[in-house]
């Protein structure tokens, strides 16, 4: 995997599921300034900083772990089980591909 290790602020594109876009009153992709290394944690920190109403909806408030029915995709890869501090793919860092927050498939 090509990874990003940049230390400057980068603009990262994030795709949210419809329910979270509605809560954040966001249209389409969200563009975030991410300082330091671009990782799941730094992207989600920036997302929650910009949209505090999303606190607790992606990561559990108590444990800070990814909620069970949330997945993280980017560059056609499932990054859900990557370590939160692992660098995200370079194409996400460069803003060429979005970091996607997905509500897992479930139904009946």
């Amino acid at each position: 995997m090509s990874t990003g290790t940049t230390t400057g602020a980068r603009v990262v594109r994030v795709v949210l599921p419809a329910h979270l876009r509605a809560m954040a009153r966001a249209q389409g992709e969200v563009h975030l300034d991410v300082a330091g290394e671009v990782t799941q944690r730094s992207v989600l920190d920036a997302l929650e900083g910009e949209f505090p109403m999303l606190l607790g909806t992606i990561r559990d408030r108590a444990t800070a772990k990814r909620r069970a029915f949330i997945r993280f995709y980017a560059c056609e890869q499932d990054l859900s089980h990557e370590e939160p501090d692992a660098a995200l793919p370079e194409r996400v860092v460069r803003g060429e591909e979005p970091f996607m927050v997905i509500g897992a498939m479930a139904g009946g």
């Binding site: 329910h19 607790g56 909806t57 408030r61 108590a62 069970a68 949330i70």
Partner: protein, 371 residues
């Protein structure tokens, strides 16, 4: 002219139903928060424009919304329900101990005495309080830390604190109910709690007279007579005349004493309503007939109210938070079903109409009487 606002929480959003005092023509507004489970909405009696909504989702967790314009627009408020200290453990279905873990808010109860104060009853059972309109929450941990806490266990719906009643003249007296732990009372604002389950008899637990372990489904009170409490237990309809110190069964001639909600008439403190359900194995009305039962004597003697309700082939359920009364001179009674109907009576239950009938499954119904 006075108005009526019915707040409906469903499996797939919230709905606000409005009418005038006649309550014959209704406007349906919604869904708010479309697609999301809305466990409960409730408005403040001190500021009717202030309404709280509990949104719970297996995907996105707990969210609390607040409206300050009667439900027209909403903002997200605090959802940090962190237990005070080390949460400890409670009984699990297999007899093992399980860590206390927050799942969702079942019930939001705005204070009767302060417009910025609101209480939240949560699963796993605990009581939280906010004094800033839901922005921040702090646990009243004396309840969860009661000596009996490790004996509490979940009912089939989870170990939920679902009923919160504040004394009308004493802000420090609160009653809560937990499935399946029982009823509890505080007289010091939530610092210390006493189980108030004497007289409850529950055949589902090894010691049917146990201090805790009872599956209380709902409690209600009339503000003019706050020492009298009415309870729909898993089985049995109960009444206390001494603020919960003791309970007596008043199931009387009900066709089944299993059910979920119980409500007290707005102006007649001894007139109460229940919706009998066949049993805990079936969760639908006896004989496929949806009947509200009314007692005008505080229980024991019950009459079936059927006019306008389906009397054949009806197999819906009415959940514990899905019944309420308004304060109009001719008392209105409302309930919602798991089939998506909201039934209303503008004549104390004598007759009923479905004011909306194809909503998602109804989880909660509350009413505001607007001047």
């Amino acid at each position: 002219m006075a108005g009526t606002r019915v707040l409906v929480g469903t499996r797939k959003g919230a709905f606000v139903l409005t009418s005038d005092e006649a309550r014959t023509d209704w406007k349906v507004d919604g869904p708010h928060f479309p697609g999301m489970e809305i466990y409960h909405l409730k408005g403040s009696t001190l500021n009717p424009d202030r309404i709280y909504a509990s949104q719970s989702s297996g995907w996105f967790g707990q969210v609390v919304h607040r409206s300050d314009d009667g439900g027209a627009t909403w903002e997200t408020v605090g959802n940090d329900f962190t237990y005070d200290g080390v949460p400890g453990q409670h009984q699990w279905f297999d007899g093992s101990l399980r860590d206390w873990a927050f799942t969702r808010v079942w019930h939001l109860e705005p204070s009767l005495h302060d417009a910025e104060t609101v209480y939240a009853g949560v699963e796993d059972a605990a009581l939280f309080k906010s004094t800033d309109g839901g922005t921040t929450w702090a646990e009243l941990s004396g309840l969860r830390q009661h000596d009996t806490g490790p004996q509490w266990q979940p009912g089939a719906g989870g170990m939920c604190l679902h009923t919160i009643i504040q004394h009308p003249s004493d802000p420090d007296t609160l009653y809560v109910a937990i499935s399946a732990a029982g009823a509890f009372r505080t007289r010091d604002g939530g610092q210390t709690w006493q189980p108030i389950n004497k007289g409850l008899r529950s055949g589902e637990i090894p010691d049917e007279d146990s201090e805790v372990g009872h599956c209380v489904h709902r409690i209600d009170m009339h503000p003019s007579n706050p020492d009298v409490l009415y309870m729909q237990k898993h089985w049995d309809v109960m009444r206390s005349k001494d603020g919960g110190d003791s309970w007596q069964e008043v199931s009387g001639n009900l066709p089944s004493d299993f059910g979920f909600p119980i409500a007290v008439h707005a102006h007649e403190p001894e007139t109460i309503y229940v919706v009998p359900i066949l049993s805990d194995s079936y969760h639908y009305p006896p004989d496929g007939r949806l009947r509200v039962y009314r007692s005008r004597s505080g229980g024991d003697d019950w009459e079936a109210l059927t006019e306008g309700l389906p009397q054949s082939d009806c197999y819906v359920n009415v959940l514990r938070d899905a019944m309420a009364v308004d304060q109009h001179e001719s008392c209105g009674v409302y309930f919602g079903t798991t089939g998506g109907q909201v039934y209303a009576s503008n004549d104390s239950g004598d007759s009923w109409t479905a004011i909306v009938r194809d909503l998602p499954a109804v989880l909660s119904v509350e009413v505001q009487t607007l001047s």
